[in-house]
């Protein structure tokens, strides 16, 4: 009996220890929570106070202005067909018809120049769909022209220089220029509110060592940020590579246009 009384007595003492233990645990947990709530804030201030710089916001992007993905576009005019629309002139026009060469001034719509005096009254032309190529404006592209497109935006250019045959003789160089300009055109520089803009024309020279110089906006798009992005694409380029050694001129002039559509 004595033994069981001992056990009961010890059990009671152990119970008090359990209460102490539970109380201490609660206190430790409470201390940790308090430390996390207050102490970390204080430490953050102390660590950050040494910095004099300023943090910049960083955003996740799906595109970075590396060489932009691009595909060769099919120029609507670059086919063998002369055009299928009803705007074909009557054979009565005796004057030889000049097919305008879409060179430097391709931005102006070439017009048929037939003398009005010899023209006979014609039947009213049939209303054309917008994408029909008028007669005479089809056929292979004449001249050193090319286009590119990159993510909805497009560009193109013409070369002049030497005997005017630079583009036909050194097509590989023209391709290099096209690739390099389109790679360096960063479309995020354009005002994001702009959905579509008129074509901007740049002119520049390529010197013998391949450096672009005299970069000028020949015709503005009316959107300053688009004009600026086009100029900066050129300014970003140090060299296109030296002009071909077979080429005798000191420079070539390039007209480069940028079409922008978001």
């Amino acid at each position: 009996m004595q033994a069981s009384a001992e056990i009961f007595f010890e059990h009671e003492r152990w119970g008090r220890n359990l209460a102490w233990s539970a109380g201490l645990h609660v206190a430790v947990v409470g201390a940790i929570i308090l430390y996390a709530a207050f102490a970390s804030g204080g430490r953050g201030q102390g660590w950050g106070s040494g910095g004099g710089g300023e943090a910049m916001g960083v955003t996740l992007v799906t595109t970075v202005p590396l060489p932009a993905p691009q595909t060769q576009t099919q120029n609507v005019l670059a086919n063998e067909s002369k055009g299928v629309s009803q705007s074909k002139p009557k054979p009565e026009v005796t004057e030889p018809e000049a097919i305008p060469i879409p060179e430097k001034n391709a931005k102006k719509k070439p017009k048929h120049e037939t003398s009005a005096s010899k023209r006979k009254p014609e039947p009213e032309p049939v209303e054309e769909a917008n994408n029909v190529v008028p007669f005479g404006q089809g056929g292979p592209v004449s001249g050193p022209y090319g286009t590119f497109s990159a993510g909805g935006a497009k560009g193109g250019f013409g070369f002049t220089g030497g005997g005017g045959d630079f583009g036909t003789r050194f097509g590989w160089y023209v391709d290099t220029v096209r690739r390099k300009v389109s790679d360096n055109w960063l479309k995020y520089e354009i005002d994001p509110r702009i959905g579509e803009a008129r074509r901007v024309y740049l002119v520049f020279d390529i010197t013998r060592d391949g450096h672009p110089s005299h970069i000028e906006v020949e015709q503005s798009s009316g959107v300053p940020s688009l004009d600026q992005s086009a100029v900066r694409a050129l300014q970003r380029i140090d060299t296109f590579g030296p002009l071909p050694s077979d080429y005798s001129g000191n420079k070539v002039s390039v007209e480069f246009w940028f079409d922008y559509k978001r």
């Binding site: 040494g50 910049m56 060489p67 590989w172 790679d183 140090d238």
Partner: protein
């Protein structure tokens, strides 16, 4: 309706969690490349050595053009029959029309007579029948496999220079790195394609972060010496260490300015690791940072030499910062996770660095290579394939990035195009880390 939303919510969380790290679109994938056909060069002599040299030449030329990142090489199975060894052998329409549909054709011949080898190579614009020749070159060298490889590198670089918009090719460039193959961490060198790997230093200590000078004459690195971590200088011309001042404290991660006149490094001589700039001879040290917390791993703006990017611990975990080369105008460009090892691109536009974006307990903690456009602070992730990826470094042509990765088990050196594609291991044996690409 409410129940529907409760059902949808975890789904949204899941998609956003998985959708964020995997961005493979639009990072310059599918850049329009020049379609080039490279038929094997023709043997110009019957010398028994010819076959072996020809194979070395053809393999090297193909690999160089394939690695360049600007070509789409036409598969050899599409080529018309018959060797092309000289301009008279070229039938333009068979190359320019499908199936090869090539824009360019690189061809030529290789002949051996006695101990000398001569190579003739041409590059033709096959769509331009009237004046097709873009390039015509003739080389002569000793009749060895190594010389055949070098000649192929030279011809490849000529082609890349012409068609890549005046940027010199990298086929003759070198890579310096740290390898444990001799039992100690020593400085090693190799060709850009992983060939010809050899040790430079035999110090029997620990040597880290080699950085070759812009003129390619010297390699600066940090090494554990009797007086602690110091910057050492190895002359590639003399093939031995040359004297460089000791600064005391722990001196790490040297970086050459692009004009080769100055070296930036981190030194703890004043207590905290800070960035110092010294002349190339080690004289005239100037301290340019004074922030609380460590400042390490400087890298110069390689185009202008006017700015330095480095790793700063002043806000806690290491982050990438940029400042002027005199220490003014410090600006943090990353603001989360754990970002280290910046490298500035040769055109000055991009930083590439190693980043653990979600750092800390319970975070995924993947360490990957990221590229940031400095002007816009936009960034894109370049590696996704697991392992720890660190120490990225730009190639001189601005088109490639070299880095170390543990994805294949041990630490090895990998290369990729700057858009993250075409990743390949260059080393396989031992542990190889901290790669550095020569400036040309």
């Amino acid at each position: 309706m409410k129940r529907f939303f409760y059902g949808l919510f975890p789904l949204l969380l899941l998609t956003s969690a998985f959708g964020q790290d995997w961005i493979r679109t639009g990072t310059g994938l599918g850049v329009e490349k020049v379609r080039i056909a490279v038929p094997d060069f023709k043997a110009a002599s019957q010398d028994p050595k010819n076959t072996e040299l020809l194979k070395a030449f053809n393999d090297t030329l193909w690999n160089d053009l394939d690695n360049a990142g600007i070509f789409d090489l036409v598969s050899k199975s599409f080529y018309p029959l018959g060797p092309v060894g000289a301009p008279t052998d070229v039938k333009f329409d068979t190359w320019s029309s499908p199936p090869p549909n090539a824009a360019m054709l690189a061809f030529g011949n290789l002949g051996v007579s006695g101990n000398s080898m001569s190579v003739q190579g041409w590059l033709y614009d096959v769509k331009n029948v009237t004046s097709p020749q873009v390039l015509g070159k003739q080389y002569s060298d000793a009749a060895t496999t190594e010389a055949a490889r070098i000649t192929a590198h030279k011809f490849a670089d000529e082609i890349i220079f012409r068609l890549g918009g005046g940027i010199p090719g990298i086929a003759e460039s070198k890579i310096y790195f740290v390898s444990t193959r001799t039992g100690h961490k020593e400085i090693w060198a190799m060709d850009y394609d992983g060939a010809n790997q050899h040790a430079l230093t035999h110090l029997g200590s620990i040597s880290l972060s080699p950085r070759v000078s812009p003129d390619g004459s010297r390699v600066a690195f940090s090494s554990l010496t009797k007086s602690g971590w110091e910057i050492l200088m190895y002359s590639l011309e003399l093939d031995r260490l040359v004297t460089f001042p000791r600064f005391g404290g722990t001196n790490l991660s040297p970086a050459w300015s692009p004009d080769g006149t100055r070296i930036a490094f981190s030194s703890s001589r004043s207590g905290d690791p800070e960035i110092y700039v010294v002349d190339a001879s080690g004289t005239n040290p100037k301290r340019i940072t004074s922030f609380k917390g460590p400042d390490v791993s400087p890298t110069w703006n390689r185009k202008t030499g006017a700015q330095i990017s480095w790793v700063s611990g002043r806000t806690g975990l290491p982050q990438i910062d940029i400042m002027e080369a005199d220490g003014t105008n410090a600006q943090q460009v990353t603001d989360q996770g754990y970002a280290v090892s910046p490298s500035w691109s040769p055109n000055g536009q991009f930083l590439v660095f190693s980043w653990i974006r979600h750092y800390g307990p319970g975070a995924p903690g993947a360490q990957d290579i990221y590229l940031m456009d400095i002007a816009s602070k936009q960034w894109v992730q370049l590696t996704h394939d697991g392992g720890r990826n660190d120490f990225p470094y730009w190639s001189p042509d601005n088109r490639h990035i070299i880095f170390q990765s543990s994805r294949s088990g041990g630490m090895q050196i990998w290369t990729m195009l700057a858009d993250g594609t075409n990743q390949k291991a260059l080393t396989t044996s031992g542990s190889n880390t901290q790669p550095n690409w020569s400036w040309k």
